[in-house]
């Protein structure tokens, strides 16, 4: 015979945010039920009234939810509503324990911007090192002979590139190098490197893209438009 036990399960519960200055809640709920009746019947809802709502207003809202057949399971919001939840026999859900699920990929990008490329204005002179850690590197201008530019991500050089260039220096094999005028001393991708004497002659001074073929572990060179 199995013993009863408590398990942490996650259910999808919607929060109904109800600001004080919103349109009448009953009206709005009716419209939603007309639009998507099946959905509104199935969802579990937690009501989040604003601090300014009176107990009577909240009671009225709960009644209209009940009439429409929407499953209200509890209250959340300001802790002053907690007593009200107890009084009405509803659960109290602490707003501090909420994890808000991102609605879409797009919204996540806006809320948590990833670190963008490091943009450096050239010329990058001989003897100067530039390293873009955990990100791409963009150089506007030239990179002189004897300069070293490196990135964990891609490297773009919008100018004459005569120095040493390394992309994917922490081992990212999908990193690439893009140069408008390709005349480097050395190129390296994820540790695979090639000196200027091994670079095909037809690519010299051209617009070049350098990638890494993972199967052969060799650098691949291509012309860009």
């Amino acid at each position: 015979m199995m013993a009863p036990r408590i398990r942490a399960n996650r259910y999808s519960v919607m929060t109904l945010e109800w600001p004080k200055d919103s349109e009448p809640l009953e009206q709005w709920l009716k419209e939603q039920c007309d639009k998507a009746p099946a959905l509104m019947q199935e969802i579990a809802i937690v009501l989040k009234p604003s601090l300014e709502h009176e107990s009577e207003e909240i009671q009225a809202a709960i009644d209209s939810l009940d009439q429409l057949g929407i499953g209200l399971i509890g209250l959340t919001g300001d802790s002053s509503h907690r007593a009200l939840a107890d009084e009405m026999g509803l659960a109290w859900l602490s707003p501090n324990n909420v994890t808000v699920e991102p609605q879409s990929e797009k919204e996540r990008d806006v809320n948590q911007p990833r670190e963008t490329a490091l943009v450096v204005e050239g010329p990058i002179r001989s003897g100067v090192q530039v390293y873009a850690k955990d990100r791409d590197l963009i150089v506007i201008g030239q990179v002189s002979e004897g300069a070293e530019i490196m990135a964990d991500g891609h490297v773009h050089v919008y100018g004459r590139c005569r120095g040493r260039v390394a992309a994917g220096v922490s081992g990212q094999t999908n990193a690439e190098i893009f140069c408008l005028t390709f005349e480097p001393e050395l190129v390296s991708l994820a540790g695979t490197y090639c000196g200027s004497d091994q670079i095909p002659e037809n690519l010299w001074s051209a617009r070049v893209r350098v990638g890494l073929d993972e199967n052969s572990q060799k650098l691949t060179f291509g012309l860009m438009g």
């Binding site: 002179r125 001989s126 003897g127 002979e145």
Partner: protein, 271 residues
């Protein structure tokens, strides 16, 4: 407010001291109160080029260490009343140059009413050179048209834009390129980099091309800045360079090979 102009190159023997003397004399000729300082402590040369070697009693290091006042150490040029010279010590080494000491001397010179302070940097990227660069508002990069000189100039430009006071405070040192010992005939033959090649590699505004000239050696040996020699093409080219530095627009001269006449070819003349 005095403007500090540092003449530098990285590589030795390209003409920094000759150019410092010529630029300082040119600025003084243009009516600006100018002082030229030799930062090459231990290997002083500027006093020779300026023809004041016998008048050096106290030097730059004496002033920094408080053994002499600036007035005692400054040597007034006899040809140009706007020009003064501060010689380097021959007995000390470059460690005598401290950032604080150099800064104080430059400040005092500005208070004395000098408009331009020309710093003649030593070769290399060690203490003397970095001290000369540290306080620069403008840098004149002297380069010969050959690859190693150009490479070293590029390195110095990198140091300039990372280690100078202006760069550290988020500003930028104004860069000017001066190509010296230029031989247009050899450029045409492909034996020497052209001025376009040099500008392309360094990406700095060109303020002058000084032709290879016997007048430069003669000027050094006689202690007269070559810019004061109106008969020499190198002197005229330095004059143009200073004018361009001061914002004037002048066409480049002496950048195409001289046409040798029939007689000079037969008689083996030319310069």
């Amino acid at each position: 407010m005095a403007t500090v102009v540092t003449v530098t190159s990285g590589k030795g023997g390209v003409g920094k001291t000759t150019s410092s003397a010529a630029i300082a004399a040119g600025l003084a000729q243009a009516g600006h109160r100018t002082v030229v300082i030799d930062f090459d402590v231990g290997l002083r040369n500027l006093d020779l080029i300026m023809g004041v070697e016998r008048r050096v009693v106290f030097d730059f290091v004496n002033v920094i260490s408080g053994e002499a006042t600036l007035n005692q150490a400054l040597i007034q040029d006899k040809r140009l009343e706007n020009l003064s010279i501060l010689a380097a010590s021959q007995t000390k080494d470059k460690d005598a140059l401290t950032e604080e000491g150099v800064g104080q001397v430059l400040e005092q010179l500005a208070e004395m009413g000098f408009e331009y302070i020309v710093c003649d940097s030593p070769a290399g990227i060690e203490r003397g050179a970095t001290m000369a660069l540290h306080f620069a508002d403008h840098a004149v990069i002297v380069t010969n048209p050959e690859v190693s000189s150009v490479r070293d100039s590029d390195r110095i430009l990198g140091i300039l834009q990372s280690k100078s006071k202006r760069a550290k405070e988020g500003g930028k040192v104004h860069e000017h390129l001066l190509i010296t010992r230029y031989d247009p005939a050899r450029v045409d033959n492909g034996e020497m980099l052209s001025k376009e090649d040099v500008c392309d590699i360094l990406a700095v505004k060109l303020i002058g091309v000084i032709p290879e000239s016997k007048a430069v050696l003669k000027a050094s040996n006689t202690g007269v800045p070559v810019i004061l020699d109106d008969d020499a093409d190198a002197g005229l080219a330095y004059g143009d360079a200073v004018a361009r530095f001061l914002g004037e627009d002048r066409p480049m001269r002496f950048v195409t090979p001289k046409k040798q006449g029939l007689f000079s070819r037969i008689l083996g003349g030319g310069d």
